[in-house]
Point group: C2
Chain length 324, copies 2
């Protein structure tokens, strides 16, 4: 019998990563291609399809490819479209699944946004294995989220569920890219913590090396490094970030009462610096019903591979669904 | 072939209502008994079991009873226990399902909290028929909620999901019975709107008949009546209530992107007075992804019967699950 595999694809702003993955989460072959932006999407698809075929060939013989899972920004599972992803420059609505079907006729070709595939990856291969109710929060340039309820991905009636980066923490708060004010993303992301540093510099007289750097040049990694060196503004910035994030999480818990919350992405790599305050404020703000019941955990998956693993995992979920 | 029916039970603080319901949601017989509180729960169960049997007998011959669904406060579906319902006076943890099984051996005997059974009732027999993603918010003395995702009730890993009355709207806000400050329930409930009247009386110089009534004697129904007569404080109180509720809902939507939000309970009966401001502030605060996509609707079920209908509906859901 042939070994069943699925293909996971992670479409980033500059690079596209491809992995041929077996059902146990072993990556059997990897491929890469630049993400050709601001071209006719078909030009990109020609290159992508060829790279997929090459990667499958590299993975070995006697393989049965069950499907392709694609993780991309602003993606809609139901319609198979990438919608309004300005930075990709392929137009406003790209029927990605339909277009990819012109190259492949596998049973399952599915598109989801990156945070959704990440949480499915965590569920199948990572720290959420065996759990049925989980929330993953991705702390990158923005804040994304993927939610599992009753073992299933929460997509919502329109495919856009799980935008927890856009719950409003403060109606008079910071301007958000979405046009509103005070979204979680403006505080708890890599860019949010940089804004927090600027705010602390304005509000306090605390000495800090960060006062000597132009805000546009400050990165979250830099704040992390200064925090490790004991810089008080940097340390306080992590405390403030954890405060907003912990408070937000305590409300998320009242919604789906998950067994665990996973943090993933750049800021999550700061370890105790971000986990300690987040946990503290999460418990402090949580309704007593949930006190000390919800785990706050780092993703167990390799950051460089979670997107590809997750996207491939969505294929198995899809095949499960098709069988029901 | 015998007609399949299920029994729905609504345990309130003073009365217990019983209904024998067919799969189409027709109530074939009804029964009632006082909720005997502050007694050994077995004393109450003796009376309850007898009333259930009488009600089933009244419903007719040739019936096959498939199960009993019980809706009660502070109930846990997974454990079948009523936990910490001080006002019932049966002790801190009451293994209700286990105890009821000593009287009945139907395939499904299930316990859920009232808001959860209400949303299952709405899904099977009310305005949510055919929908897969729905949130019901019950605006009673407190604020409860029942959430459906992918057609299934959201229970969470511990059975306590869906406490949306306890998301925090203002960390420096009103004292809540849960021990924290600023929970949605302190603003958007029948008691919350009374508190809002007191606040408006304190903050404004607006003339109002409500200034002549002791706060303890003001009810939400009274505020409704004064609002209809054009009392400005009463009208403003509904506006403020809708503001908090609408704002909260705009965040709930970012979680599960439901097709519709249903409002149910005393305050929901105020019609446009509550729906108009809630809808306005919901749209105003909502992330653009969801703008004008989410319906805000009143429950279509008879308020006096939804609890019994909902509890009976949970039985069918349970039998569906057992078959999988």
């Amino acid at each position: 019998m042939k070994k069943q595999v699925s293909v996971g694809i992670d479409i980033g702003g500059t690079n596209t990563a491809i992995g041929v993955v077996d059902k146990e989460g072993n990556i059997m072959a990897e491929g890469h291609t630049p993400t050709l932006t601001s071209v006719d999407v078909k030009e990109y698809l020609d290159v992508l399809a060829k790279t997929i075929k090459d990667t499958i060939a590299k993975a070995g013989d006697d393989l049965e490819v069950m499907g392709i899972g694609i993780g991309a920004p602003s993606s809609n599972y139901y319609t198979g479209e990438i919608v309004g992803a300005a930075n990709l420059g392929w137009g406003d609505v790209v029927p990605f699944v339909k277009l990819l079907r012109e190259y492949f006729d596998y049973p399952a070709i599915v598109l989801t946004n990156d945070a959704n595939s990440a949480v499915v990856g965590e569920l199948m291969y990572g720290g959420a294995k065996g759990m049925k109710d989980v929330i993953m929060i991705t702390l990158g340039t923005g804040v994304g989220s993927g939610i599992i309820v009753n073992g299933e991905l929460v997509l919502g009636h329109d495919g856009f569920a799980g935008e927890l980066g856009h719950v409003v923490m403060d109606t008079n708060g910071r301007m958000c890219g979405c046009g509103r004010k005070g979204c979680l993303e403006t505080y708890a992301s890599a860019t949010g913590i940089v804004r927090t540093v600027s705010e602390l510099i304005a509000d306090t007289r605390t000495p800090s090396e960060l006062r000597n750097i132009a805000p546009e040049n400050i990165t979250s990694k830099m704040i992390y490094d200064y925090a490790l060196k004991g810089d008080e503004i940097a340390l306080e910035a992590f405390e403030v970030t954890g405060k907003y994030l912990g408070k937000a999480i305590s409300d998320f818990v009242a919604f789906s009462s998950p067994e665990a919350i996973f943090l993933f992405g750049g800021l999550a790599l700061a370890g105790d610096l971000i986990f300690k305050p987040t946990k503290k404020y999460m418990e402090e703000n949580m309704c007593f019903l949930y006190s000390h019941k919800v785990k706050l955990l780092p993703s167990e998956l390799d950051g460089a591979k979670i997107a590809v693993l997750g996207a491939s995992a969505v294929v198995w979920k899809e095949i499960e669904k098709m069988a029901n």
